[in-house]
Symmetry: C2
Subunit: 525 residues, 2 copies
């Protein structure tokens, strides 16, 4: 079935339900469905043929959600563009996926202009920003007004594509090199949401806040899941700690997804206590490793709010395992589980494999491989990378981990981020956990740097507490008490500015490595 059918289903199942809240705009499902059907008609009027791509470059809004579903309703393929990328990177994704229609908001209008100056790929630009629509984009190109287009669009009867047909191309690759367009089908996105549904208590009474960027599937996939549950979508344009707190308070938000760095900023905010967040029922976190100290702090600060972790990647549409609220225990015999990423969702098979893709026994570390209706169709225009990633029906995640006896998955690291020092494998997350357990360390990232003696040596980069800065020797000694000597950093670089982050909020280790590896080949991509 076409994913946009979920919107029709919501009209039918939840006729009284609130669908979207965006600033002052509140709409029910019937209104939103009508708008999506008309926007789909408007896209067809621009000449969209089945399977044609539609690019979307904007902050979060109700119109973003409408555009996602309207693209599918019109039998198009949506390409949500990374709002953190440079013009050059987004230009690459435009030239790779060849959309003729671009939807853009006020914030990204200069970005869209710069793209259109360098390519004539884009034929039609629709402006979905909040301010008045400017007269033109580049002098020659007309800028089409979203609401005018929508009002003139004739309601389309609904999409013919569905199931295993391509629904969207989601660019990824922030941490490991050149962008790859992940192709997800209608069925991929639907099944990922279905597999998550029995794990979360979201129902049609719930209000979900899109605070993390919607172009990224950690939040974007909630466009599907929240609609399936018939809950309400609330939006803020972009994450900001105080705007998030205010939105939770104002909209009586029950569910939210945040990445660990966002949670850190939220709980560090001086006005945290000024807002009423008592409506919150569940915080889902993921997309990058959660520091245990932060998790403990959150559990202690808001014990009445349930916490759940989702682990996955864009290639999995995106969820693979879930660490459930009952697995978040501060103490007791099962407290160690909260350092895992939980267990596979109900429709997914996960195994740990060696270099030759043979299944490894429980407890052994290897690459995480996944099979399920959620695994991507492949990488757009990249048959070789696709063949290397989808092998015999299994998706190789590039992440390393192991299962315990109870079926909990523990992440060790990106396979590609593993440091090989003196012939030993060191997984940086283990070293990072040792470093961040020191009270003077706020954040830590561990990388391999060139070493004549060891090939690579383990190196820590630390943002220290300015009031309580440890020395390099303090930190190395602290690690030696916790992990094997060969895993401990040989050196520490202290850093005062924040870490460079990917669109998903992951620390960009490629950036951190660059100054150490200049002139070397290994980490260019």
């Amino acid at each position: 079935m076409n994913l946009a059918n979920l919107v029709r289903r919501a009209v039918h199942r939840f006729p009284q339900g609130a669908a979207t809240i965006c600033g002052e705009r509140r709409r029910d499902w019937s209104t939103v469905e009508g708008r999506i059907a008309q926007l789909a008609g408007a896209l067809k009027n621009l000449g969209l043929a089945p399977g044609d791509r539609i690019a979307l470059l904007a902050l979060n809004s109700d119109r973003y959600l409408e555009s996602l579903f309207a693209s599918m309703w019109a039998d198009g393929v949506v390409v949500p563009m990374n709002i953190r990328w440079s013009v050059a990177e987004n230009l690459y994704s435009i030239e790779d996926s060849t959309p003729e229609v671009l939807l853009v908001d006020d914030i990204f209008l200069p970005h869209a202009r710069a793209i259109c100056e360098q390519t004539d790929q884009i034929k039609h630009v629709i402006y979905l920003g909040e301010s008045e629509t400017p007269a033109d984009l580049l002098g020659t190109n007309t800028l089409r007004d979203y609401e005018t287009q929508l009002a003139a669009g004739e309601r389309l009867p609904g999409g013919d594509r569905g199931g295993d047909d391509l629904a969207g191309i989601f660019y990824t690759g922030g941490t490991t090199g050149f962008p790859k367009g992940v192709m997800l089908s209608h069925a991929n996105l639907l099944h990922s949401a279905l597999y998550g549904l029995p794990e979360f208590d979201l129902d049609n009474e719930g209000v979900y806040l899109h605070a993390a960027p919607m172009f990224h599937l950690a939040d974007g996939s909630q466009g599907v899941g929240v609609t399936l549950a018939g809950a309400t979508h609330a939006f803020i344009p972009a994450f900001d700690p105080e705007a998030t707190l205010r939105a939770i308070d104002t909209y009586r938000v029950t569910n939210i997804l945040l990445v660990p760095t966002m949670l850190q900023m939220l709980f560090d905010h001086p006005r945290f206590a000024d807002y009423d967040i008592s409506s919150l029922e569940l915080i889902l976190y993921g997309a990058s490793p959660m520091p245990q100290a932060l998790l403990e702090r959150i559990m202690q600060a808001i014990p009445e709010v349930q916490l759940a972790q989702g682990y996955g990647q864009t290639e999995l549409a995106p969820i693979c395992t879930v660490l459930l609220p009952e697995d978040h225990q501060l103490d007791g015999p099962l407290a160690h589980r909260r350092s895992s990423v939980g267990r596979p969702t109900v429709g997914i098979e996960v195994k740990i494999v060696d270099d030759e893709i043979r299944r490894l026994p429980t407890g052994e570390t290897g690459e995480i491989a996944v099979r399920g209706k959620n695994t991507m169709m492949g990488y757009w225009n990249k048959p070789e990378q696709t063949a290397a990633t989808l092998v015999d029906g299994w998706l190789l995640t590039g992440d390393a981990g192991y299962f315990d006896e109870d079926g909990y998955l523990y992440l060790v690291d990106r396979v590609k981020d593993m440091i090989i020092t003196g012939g030993e494998n060191v997984f940086s997350v283990e070293v990072e956990n040792a470093l961040t357990s020191h009270p003077g360390v706020q954040m830590a990232a561990v990388i391999g740097i060139p070493s004549e003696e060891w090939g690579e040596s383990v190196h820590g980069i630390v943002i220290a507490d300015p009031d309580n800065t440890p020395t390099e020797d303090d930190l190395i000694a602290h690690c030696k008490e916790r992990i094997a000597g060969y895993k401990c950093p040989k050196g520490i670089t202290f850093r005062s500015e924040e870490f460079p982050l990917s669109g998903a909020g992951k620390v960009l280790k490629t950036e951190l490595r660059k100054p150490f590896w200049e002139g070397e080949e290994k980490y260019i991509n």
Copy 2:
């Protein structure tokens, strides 16, 4: 994932939850999980290898559920045998599926003896009846006691098979000829349950009563769905109207599946009002067409209970479309919807096709074709029937129907049951609806009988109200007011005994046709 993992998940997610209630026995999920793991060990002790079949011939009980899951936990393939079939029919299914282990209860012990007299296929018989285990089955064969086996079984760590591996063979064919073993994978059964989950409000507070026979997937699939929801399984050995009412009262049952003939018996029962059924939240019905008069009667009698219809077949594991509670309206502009079978569940694609499997437009009648992760792997040992049923990824249901503009599916008839009279297609359900709308008709079945003039002629078989019996002419005139002349019965046979029913509660038209077609070839199979 192996389906038996759902039991482990239930232990984890619902540690305080009641798992099974069977007479005086009440067990929590942890106990049931332990028993299943041990029974799986016992099956391995009998030499079961991965993929080996295990036959199950018994009335409903907690042990039936344990046996289903233990077969999968042990990497076996379960074969639930039709409790309504003759020894000859079940012998066929044993020789076709070649299980070496048979689990049997007290009621079916004579049946098992008769099977084992005629074949030496079965090597081990486990007795799961309620009375004391007899010393032997046939003099030579030892009869193994269920609880003794289970107690001696070593807990198995859990199944390796899962996903697209075969989980069970479910024999079908009651209404259309020779039995076919429908092969369903772990993923088929799981996805059918997942697709149903967002449509029903069953949660871990719910109590589901297995009253319909568990060998049939209409109820048997609830073994998966109820476990996924973490609700409680309650059992009665077999449907009986008063036993069902008593169980609803005693166990505070919230959810039940019944076929229309069972519902008729329930509401006709003189002691209906003597039991407290106020705990009931939802009645799911299906497996055969629901007479509109009965549906209206139920809606009027218990307006506070939600009604939902599931349409499907064993080949679909088994659900395809659902008619939701909100689609059950006694009057108003949408009341006609309750004569449909509802809309496809969320993960399924359904289309109507012509003889050459081309999609037909909305409103046109043709064969119903289905695509989804729930469609069967094929028929066991029947590659030709498989190839005729699974075509280009679509399952051809053999049922005829059409969609309305709002996406509701209306069943017309079995394609094979269609009557061709004078070159016109007549769908018997339409004629049956015309007949049963007469106040003097309790039940009606319409078949084609040989006619020199028309090839076939439309013939009605009617069970009339003994206090208000209409004449043949009355009924034909009644039909002519409602449907086209060529669709009206040319003759009526009145019948006092009940209709012969399949295991699923469907009227066995093959049986009704036999006296009319003796000496003809057409309907032998």
